[in-house]
Symmetry: C2
Subunit: 189 residues, 2 copies
DNA sequence: ATAATGAAACTGACCAGTCAGTACCGTTAA
DNA sequence: TTAACGGTACTGACTGGTCAGTTTCATTAT
């Protein structure tokens, strides 16, 4: 049965996402994932080649969601400043909803994880590029001040991540507003 | 010998810092540290209780340097906006110089590392608090627009970190200028 | 002398990944 | 009806490698 297998695959992914989000890559055990999914450890290996593949499958899907949300927001026919605001709101939404998963991204950067998976860097670069494009567009249109669009895009991205790493889910809307306000106008009076 | 022991301790710390910075906590081996320091592995355990203590000793000192730099800059008798600029420059300088070490901070957050060492969180909180104080001061003085000082401080901190995680050392001054410009005035024209 | 050290061998815990065995199920044969 | 069969999914005890931390000992410095 095609569907049944797919269901189980998803269950494993969900369990793994929970465990990884809870413990991080290194501390998460395949036994934990199996226990959480309510299956035998060996079964995981029927569906995934190993711990890393499992890990990256999760990150990939989260990254894809982020990218898709940005692309959707970026496709709107709006003035650059409004478009940027929309994109940030969309990005913040995905990030806030997947907060525990997004934290996993931090764990990548050192050790072999990074080398094996240029894909995540690529996704990140794509996200930054989408923002940068709108910023550049706005700069050309005179809506934004001149400056390094890519650096700004990167800063906006990390700000958004950072804002939701620490904040209570309650304050989501307010935080998004603060974010947009902050990087549109800065703090100067 | 007090001084000699201290010297060796420092050598071990330096070697460990290099290895950790290069490989991250999990991938770094005590054997690597010993080899890099040119000493026997057993000797490390004469100076440090274990891998974690070694790791945190390094992070602590980096965190202290950051905090000290901020405090020094914050102590200047300047107008809030100038003071903030100075603080950011100081912070950026420390971060840029210790970039590989600062990256290690990312690895903390999950697993048992976090629980055992609230100290690093505390240091981070102190850094944010120092910035927030200046921002609040500036807001009261009417130099800065109203807004959540702590959130802004946090955003400035992560922006600064992020800016130097990715940037070439060459562009340090320019990056600091961009940073200050960005969070003082934002991108709006 | 004796204290500290480098080198190297060793121990034990830990854990990803394996695989021999089991359970389940649809199909065919008696 | 039901027994036997084959295929497939599943299980969890087990294996093998890794590595933190310990111990030992010959060497060096004090």
């Amino acid at each position: 049965m095609r569907t049944l297998q797919d269901t189980k695959r998803r269950e494993i992914l969900a369990a793994a996402a929970a465990v990884f989000a809870d413990k991080g890559f290194h501390a998460a055990l395949m036994d934990d994932v199996a226990a959480r999914a309510g299956i035998g450890k060996g079964t995981i290996y029927r569906y995934f080649a190993g711990k890393q593949e499992l890990f990256f499958s999760i990150l990939d899907s989260a990254g894809e969601e982020l990218q898709a949300a940005l692309a959707a927001a970026g496709a709107a026919a709006l003035a650059p400043d409004l478009k940027l605001k929309t994109m940030v709101a969309a990005m913040a939404d995905v990030i806030a909803r997947n907060q525990p998963l997004m934290r996993l991204l931090r764990e990548i950067g050192h050790d072999e994880l990074e080398k094996r998976h240029g894909r995540i860097r690529e996704q990140n670069r794509a996200v930054v590029a989408q923002l940068a494009a709108v910023i550049a567009e706005g700069t050309r249109a005179g809506v934004f001040r001149r400056g390094d669009a890519k650096l700004r895009a990167r800063l906006i991205t990390v700000m958004t991540h950072a804002a939701f790493h620490h904040c209570k889910p309650v304050a989501r809307r307010a935080t998004i507003r603060s974010l947009n306000d902050f990087f549109f106008h800065g703090i100067a009076a």
